[in-house]
Amino acid sequence: MSDELDEIQAIFFEECAEGLTAAERGLSAMQDGDTSSETIAAVFRAVHSIKGGAGAFGHSALTAFAHRFENLLDEVRAERIAAPPETVAVMLTALDVLSDHVAAAQGTIATPDDSGSLAALDAILNAGGASAPTPAPAPVAEPEPVAVEDDDPFGFEPVAVAIDDFDALDGAPIDLPDLDVKPAAAAEKDAAPGWHVRFGPSNDAMANGAEPMLVIRELEELGGRVTGYDASALPPLRELDPENGYVSWTLELPEWCDEARIHDAFDFVPPDSLIVIEREPPPEEPTADPVSDSAQEAPEPQAPVPAEPTPAPALAAAEPAPAKPKARPVSDARAPDHGSQTIRVDLTKLDMLLNLVGELVIRNSILSDRLDSEDQERVELPELARLTREIQDNVMSLRAQPIRQAFSRVPRMLRDLHAETGKIIDLETFGETTEVDKGVIEKIGDPLTHLIRNAVDHGLETPEERVRVGKPEAGTVTLSAEQKGARIIVTVADDGRGIDRVRVRGKAVERGLIAPDANLTDEEIDQLICAPGFSTAETISNISGRGVGMDVVRSNVEALGGRVDISSVPGKGTTFTLVLPLTLAILDGMVVRLGGQRFVLPLATVVETLQPEPDQVRSTTPDSEVIEVRGQYIPVRRLPRMFGLERGERRPIEDSLIVVVENDAEGQVGLLVDTIDDRREVVIKSLEENLYPIRGLGGATILGDGSIALILDVDALTAPSLHQTRAQMRGIAA
């Protein structure tokens, strides 16, 4: 059971994360001027749910803070308090504190100091506020530190306070004498009746499900007893509507009963019912006071016993329900739980599924290789292939999630950065709905964080500096994502000072990364900031100087099969582009041969294939050949040569096949291959588990005949910096 609770709690924390994201989104929208009631309601609901769950799991600090936060949100929601940008800013800060509280409840950090945020929230409440500043904390905010661990009869851990329920309409639940008082009370004291209660449910009461029997039962639990009833309004049977109230009862309750408790029993009995609660005059009252137990035989004056056999009809009227349950066949077995429109699945299960689908794809390829087309038709292989493909697409989509998740922590980070650096930062985001494999999302979180910190810390200038150079005071960080073919392009751009190439170069020389007289292009200098152990911050700041440099960003991204591009314009800003694979698992590929070996080119990068005519070929130097395609010059890279697979004489381009691929940075590039074998889907198997990353190769796969082919990384192969790495590649591939 405790396991079960842990599991539920884990789900609660997931909900917290979702709630925080939703609230963040809502508040950001409010900051941008969105004042729609749906937006504020969504924020309220998010915080509200966190509070509710937190209370249930006994996270008192979290509950208390969420409660105070919710108070303000509620006032804003009810339009009793306006939410100008300053107020939204306070709420955003409160959200950060709330997020820290959630983390603290999970045990990842210490309980945050929320006093500042609380003061700010209360200030707004009190200033703009209606009369209800913080009336409420009483019940929730002081969850008596119940720390009882094991003695719960239901195996539940202490769920903080019970804010009991409908006997506590006044919101002061703590003083419930509940268990002490009620049970044997009536028997214990035969003392003089203290309270005299008459109760006749109205028709509405019956309609509200306010079962009279249950009200009476509650009064009985308080020590009361029924002393009589009035069924005089009861119509003849055939006119009787079982859903109406015809009968009233008289009860007596001991004088020590709390009046409020008696009233509470009628909490949900609509006011148009007959409810009379009177204190009986003291016992020395003259008249026939039913003093003893004989009261049962000597009914109260206003409870005339009708001649007819009333008890039965009275019961029927009092309990309209019994007739119904029979008409309610409970169909339990059917219909799965609609409550779970979404189900949460352990990611490892999805991964296993994906892996299996990958194997299925491979088997499919093997079958299609081994069977001739007639046999393929006979065994309906094309249909099987189509189904396999659909399964594969579906499984992939299961893992795809909007990249918003990775972006969601950015606003918070920027607020922290603003607090630390004093820089004013505007955030612009684009393409948040771009769907990316969950694995990718998880892994780009850290690189993204670092790039953004970097952009603010090194890129953006201080407000004064910006004004001095004629820029707006606020710097802009732009975060965008888009899908291009089988790649996801994520950019982090700032409009700051750009990379200081003189300083970068100086530093690189100082660190012995380059020779003092090295002749480097601007791009090559920019790339230096990704070199291991490079840092230009003069003082290692608390922000980006965390011992994690750009080199780690680059290696993280490359481990995902992606790459980092840097472009920077002095005085204008820097843009980091992460080019990431859409999925980590399956690739639509073109199988080509280079020097007798088979390789796979990702099909998404292929623009066209052609065999050039001699007059299309231009060549300046042996190392720089281009072909002219429809008036455009396309550089050619001789892949067999690059991989050291060239046999015999160099073949003239016009005798070769050229696969034209498109590269984000380079535009179109022609790759010279020996032959094109096939087009097929391949399952990517990582090489990096066993080998160092090899520039130019994206992985390996198993082809239909069971042989292994390497997957080419087109972006790396076409990149200009390849000239430097070619020798290295040749060494590895040979």
Partner: protein, 121 residues
Amino acid sequence: MSKLILTVDDSASMRMLLKATLTAQGYRIESANDGKHGLERMHEVRPDLLITDINMPEMDGFELIEAVRGITDFRGTPILVLSTEFSDEKKSRARSAGATGWITKPFEPTKLGAAVRRVCP
């Protein structure tokens, strides 16, 4: 056959917590994640008791209660509100919508059980 309770709450953890708590006390539980589905589920499972949250997307608790009360078959079904809110205003709104009772979150299993037994013994 034990009594059947339909719980409507947009939080999955709250639904599970309710289910675990009330199952342990001998009830059968069905659940829905918002008012709209809650209403559909009412027709499907015809519970002995409806426990609903107030703040939910799509159709909130008040709307759900009103809708349920508008259906003849459910006029006598007790409805408990389970919410972290406890303002008198909200309570009276719930009452006029047709709620039978109000339980404030967070709940303690025993007290929740006691409250539930009071309307659905």
